[in-house]
Symmetry: D2
Subunit: 344 residues, 4 copies
């Protein structure tokens, strides 16, 4: 069975394991205060073009989302996001468990707009009984989105403008950031992204690391006491260096971008193959997740040999099926998949 089901089916890029092995018996302080974390933080600050950014390493995405959001919001505030946002759909109510309502906005291909934020805020503040409703307290978006799509620079500028108008921090979930920044459809750089929001994270788990997300806080007002938040949410790894070593490896010579780019290239090959067979795609993903709309027969062609993920009902008897590449996807496996696609 060949997995195109998700981007976390394998371990990590081999160079990371090598580095973990080399450094294994070093003795270092715990909780992220070691030289590897310090070096990784500096490499990330450099990559982001913000030497004052605070960088923290957390273990996973749900943990990063919850820790960041709970650290920002006051109790009566909620998080605006696309209704398809990961925090709204797939985190077992982790945000609500910290006391905050997720405020979903209808998505367009996974994205929301500055004007949606403006309209929501205006309606809230124009309501003379606004204290009876949850106050919008931040905006959460994903880059790439859960649908694999990308905001344009113009869309991000507009979202940021809307956030500034209503004094809302902008938080970008970058669980798959590497696949976004290396997509041909991407029109921003990492420093631009860093400056367009107040806090974001660079996903490691799905982009070559064993696990780990690097939270980057650029907004000065959000930096205070973040290490308490990490500890309280169970995210302060005793052997914090494990995260430092991984991000050091990924960022010291561009490995992060190199391996993600490869995955995106493969994914777009797969997309083009489906399109060449006249098979409709769900959404316009230009990253490592591709969503084909398949009949039951077409799905059967993959059965037994390839694992993919059922994504939903296309509404016409067909299904939306996700095919995912990753840093670990091989040429050989892509070719095997293309071979089947070409028979559809």
């Amino acid at each position: 069975m060949i997995y195109f089901q998700c981007d976390y089916a394998e371990g990590c890029h081999p160079r990371i394991l090598e580095r973990l092995t080399e450094t294994n018996l070093e003795q270092t302080p715990g909780y992220g205060m070691d030289p590897h974390c310090e070096r990784a933080r500096n490499l990330i600050r450099l990559a982001c073009g913000d030497e004052n950014a605070d960088v923290h390493f957390l273990v996973g995405g749900t943990q990063a989302n919850t820790t960041v959001i709970a650290s920002i919001l006051r109790p009566h505030q909620g998080a605006l996001c696309a209704d398809t946002g990961h925090i709204n759909c797939h985190e077992t109510g982790a945000i609500e468990a910290t006391g905050h309502k997720v405020l979903p906005l209808p998505n367009t291909d996974g994205t929301i707009t500055g004007d949606q934020v403006r309209a929501y805020c205006r309606a809230h503040w124009d309501d003379s009984s606004h204290e009876h409703t949850v106050q919008p307290g931040l905006v959460y978006i994903s880059y790439p989105t859960e649908s694999g799509t990308l905001y344009t620079k113009q869309q991000l500028l507009d979202l940021r403008a809307a956030c500034r108008e209503w004094e809302l921090p902008l938080f970008i979930d970058g669980a798959r950031l590497g696949y976004g920044l290396t997509s041909p459809a991407c029109d921003i750089t990492l420093p631009e992204l860093a400056s367009l929001c107040d806090v974001f994270y660079i996903g490691g788990t799905k982009c070559g690391a064993l696990f780990g997300e690097a939270v980057v806080i650029t907004g000065a007002a959000l930096k205070r006491d973040f290490r308490y938040a990490i500890k309280q949410h169970g995210g302060m790894l005793a052997k914090g260096r494990l995260l430092g070593i991984q991000f050091e490896t990924l960022f010291e010579d561009g490995l992060y971008f190199e391996i993600c780019k490869q995955a995106v290239d493969y994914a777009l090959e797969i997309r083009r193959a489906f399109e060449a067979r006249g098979i409709p795609m769900f959404g316009t993903s230009a990253t490592n997740q591709q969503f084909a709309i398949l009949t039951a027969e077409q799905q059967a062609a993959f059965a037994g040999q390839f694992a993919s993920e059922y994504w939903g009902d296309a509404g016409d008897g067909r299904s939306i099926v996700r095919f995912c590449t990753s840093w670990a996807t091989t040429r050989e496996n892509v070719d095997a998949l293309l071979k089947v696609i070409n028979t559809l």
Copy 2:
């Protein structure tokens, strides 16, 4: 600088890194549903002598404590524990962050007794206004305790009896379980421990793994929906197999116990060396943490060469200083330390 400061200064037992490397490119399902986790669960069930136990792998101790406790308690209930308990002192209020008061009882050398539990519960239920106070909802103890000490089997039987009398689940934090079970002072087996409580965990982070705690639920009433709790608390590792592989390695041939025993032996050598010099020890730890009561001059003898941890003021101008061994402690480093102790 040689670290005796804590038991998480190094990476992991080399065999674990070998296994992670060997399995690195295997493709497996995520979130703990892979064959490595399944095998590790079975090995742990076997070691615990409870084939019906539920076994879950979490990343760290604070996360394990919070997830277990929040999953058990109703909103008006709290967790009884020693005032020195980790959940009361060193988790940034993680339990309170899930809505529950920690109910501390005065400790004796790190432990609490069945009679303390009985007295607390009786006072609560005898109070005609008991609904104005937090209801005790579970008992949390650590084995070994935060002071390195061990409950005797008799003490555990009595605690269990008290818990049964008042219908309280008993939860054992086993962050350093390996160092407890392999101590010469230990008079219980792992199966006995498993049967004496309703839920406990087998610490990996401090006992040879890169990270990870294996939560073992033996009480039937506590098993339901625990995976939701893990996900909600940000503890469901996408690449769950990383935990499975580690616990597989530690439990397939007794490695866990072997490496912990060595650390305890070293720690007791260090204790005896202090005692031989007439230096008083804080508490009666028979595990891998030893607490010496040192003057400023005595502390100076270690400075620059050895890292230890300041544990508190002994009240007479002297300090309590923790020396910790671990699975990674070497004969050579112990000898170097003993050499200094012998000069005190």
Copy 3:
């Protein structure tokens, strides 16, 4: 200015103030343990036809909703409700503040159906990754709904059946229960309602009391420790008898139903008057809230003389405007309003 804006513009039915005055200097125990509360509980049990029901008096609706829901759900569970449900819209995220996601279902004229509950639960449990999403843990409906409409007995039976199939408690918000049970469109009795759900409340605040809601728990599994929940949520009135005296007065001779019926009769007169002028109504309310769809000119006819409540945009340039009667509405004020309506 004459208020038809809401049903809490006045104090309370005069007989309640008389009783508060008569009993004012009686000395009674606090926190709801006094003879007035006891008598009120018995009167309510009698009215509900359930001598084993637990009855608790709380101060307000948001408090009642939060206390009941937080007491029932486990941390990973959420509350299914209509998207128009009060807990979803107008309680400043009070449910989320206790850690639980509200799971909104599209409403039809303020109601949801058993089949919507079934479909949601089936989708949840059929999802192999269901632990990544919030588990439905109870169903919340309002009777009457926030739109003034009523579930039929058949609809309630079906909802209850769906709840039983999926083991979900059914909770009915009865903030305006009196106006529902006395509507000509109502086809159930109070005992039927009590037996159709697991917990509900009898609204006092909007139905003749100064304040207060009587929570009635009929489901045995939900009774345990509810007084702790009340206290924890700040709902345990020191002078609990204030609530007991009010509900005693409302339930000892049918006053509750008598005064609510009058309000509903007036509201339906108002509805018919609008309809007679060809003015469309929003929804099919048969209770004390009526929603007229008015042009700006029509609204102007009421300005300065009558207070009503803007309810939303009708989408065609017109507005939905709520006119509310209450136990305190006078014949004279209704006549004055009808006079204006008849000129539209």
Copy 4:
């Protein structure tokens, strides 16, 4: 049976019921936006000598404490207070239910000192791992304390200084404020108290009202969005005017102070009577609660005729018994009690 058990055994001062009756059929806006609340707010601002203070009316003490504290603290912060503090002992973990640890300090006759606050904060911030522990985020004291005692002006100035040094808001629970300010032992005025803290409340429930506490926020940084907090905690009374009318009545001509003073005078008569019989008192209360240390025989002298409250074990076979006066205590009842005391 004559109650000296608590200060909430009766309804309210008769003038309040008269005013509620007079205003009963007035139509006013809800949620505290009516003219009665506005006038009461102004009267309270005047009495506090702070025309910029924000004044909000809440229903009860636990609600007021929870709403204020949850509104101030960030998630990783806790509330420093005396171990005898109401929030630590008698609110069913309401503070913890909002996610915050209560940080108890040993009390002296119900009070804590500025130096205790300083020492706690210094220890916290000096700890290099301070993010592993709960950060002190505010100081909560009660005036009078739960033991009936009063801070001197000097003590309050010192507490405020400590709070300023460590940037902690100071919150004063004034559930029995009237009995404090009218005690002969009191050396501050209401305006002084208002200026010595950042937020406090003027208790109504125990001081002549049916129910209600007036939260006064003097610290500018704490004012923002407090109405959201009230609504979220279920404390926004639909008929908010009920609170406005009560505080109007209590503050328009000094009724609040007049009736509390009387209660304190009676309480001190009772204290002196005990002392005259050589009966030791627990603590130095100079307010409306008096705690006598009685043998079983002495207690028997009151049985059947007087209700008092068991407060705890005096440790020598005797019991601490609370006798409480209130605004409603009559000369006649005091005389009856004195008669028994004089026989002891």
